[in-house]
């Protein structure tokens, strides 16, 4: 995610709706991508994205610049996505998967290029579906968003050793599935 200028954040705090929309335009795709990778469901990812930005709009006055806006946004996004994933898992209801996400993203006008169907995306979906929500979150933040351990710890509100442990467990799970032959070798 690119850094959001603090002037935009301050404008949004003061009620500037254009500033808030600009924040959405700059960060909405990243929020949606993180939610989509964790939830593996476009409908759920859309709902979470809406909830994230409504919460951000509601809580802007409490933000206080105690952390970077990006970190704060990642924290809200991963918390909501993980909670939504665990809730769906409890309800044992899954709707469309990655295929729907590919079709929806390519049929709507958008600021950035949507995900197009490809072997890479299928492989990614396959990989991430092998992981728990918490493990998906660390892999997504590390490999897709490029956060370092300290940033991930702040975004997930855990300590750095927990970040390290979760990453290790997530990678062990992926390698274990690869060893079983579940993941194709070209991946």
């Amino acid at each position: 995610m690119i850094n959001i200028p603090s002037s935009l954040v301050k404008g949004a705090i003061q009620g500037d709706s254009a500033a808030f929309e600009e924040i959405y335009r700059l960060s909405g795709s990243f929020v949606y991508s993180v939610a989509l990778r964790i939830l593996a469901n476009s409908g759920d990812a859309e709902e979470v994205t809406q909830e994230v930005f409504v919460k951000v709009h509601r809580s802007l006055k409490d933000f206080g610049f105690r952390s970077s806006f990006k970190t704060w946004l990642y924290r809200i996004t991963t918390n909501m996505a993980i909670n939504a994933y665990n809730k769906r898992a409890r309800e044992r209801g899954r709707r469309a998967g990655y295929d729907e996400a590919l079709n929806v993203a390519s049929s709507e006008p958008c600021a950035e290029q949507g995900i197009t169907g490809s072997e890479t995306e299928e492989a990614l979906g396959f990989l991430l579906n092998r992981l728990t929500a918490e493990h998906r979150a660390v892999i997504v933040l590390r490999e897709l968003e490029g956060l370092n351990y300290e940033e991930m710890a702040k975004a997930l509100n855990i300590n750095i050793n927990t970040v390290r442990t979760r990453l290790k467990r997530a990678r062990e799970a992926l390698m274990a599935h690869a060893k079983k032959g579940v993941i194709h070798h070209e991946v």
Binding site: A45, V104, T120, I139, L144, L167, K168, R171, L174
Partner: protein, 163 residues
């Protein structure tokens, strides 16, 4: 460093560029000398890192923004009491640690309430017994006044009047 320690670092800090220069040098020296760990590193990169290199950013449909805009514009106040209560409810009952804390506190309250009720019930039954004894004594006739003295003299207050 042993292979086990090296592989643990290969799965985390080394592959993520989080190692300090000294440790990174140690790992590289080990990899130069250990073919098994070299193969392990290649597998870790191929399976857990490389697939994500070409991942693209997904764009949300425009309806997402329209819905956000609708929801944030219709509210007169940014944060109503019901939403605050909902957030508190979610914080208490959704977060796993809070769920355990709430369950523990609830169990403790129930246990203390049960103990308190039992003590109350015991004291209440004693109160009822005393009331009945007082009522019994007050129903004694004028002659019963003497009977009362019988009680007091004999000390058989609880055992009944002296026969």
């Amino acid at each position: 460093m042993r292979c086990e320690e090296i592989r643990s670092l290969l799965m985390t800090d080394y592959i993520d560029g989080e190692l300090d220069p000294g440790k990174e040098t140690l790992v590289k020296e080990h990899l130069a000398a250990c073919s098994a760990c070299r193969v392990f590193e290649e597998n870790v990169r191929a399976i857990t890192v490389a697939p994500f290199k070409e991942a693209k950013v997904a764009a949300p449909p425009e309806r997402v923004w329209r819905e956000i805009e609708r929801r944030i514009s219709k509210k007169p106040a940014p944060y109503s009491i019901s939403e605050k209560l909902r957030d508190i409810f979610e914080a208490i009952f959704v977060l796993p640690r809070m769920r355990v804390a709430v369950a523990t506190i609830t169990a403790a309250v129930m246990i203390f309430a049960l103990i308190g009720y039992q003590r109350y019930a015991k004291e209440r039954s004693l109160d009822i017994y005393i009331e009945e004894e007082v009522s019994f004594l007050s129903q004694l006739t004028a002659n019963g006044v003497e009977d009362k003295n019988d009680y007091l003299e004999t000390g058989n207050f609880f055992q009944g009047p002296a026969v």
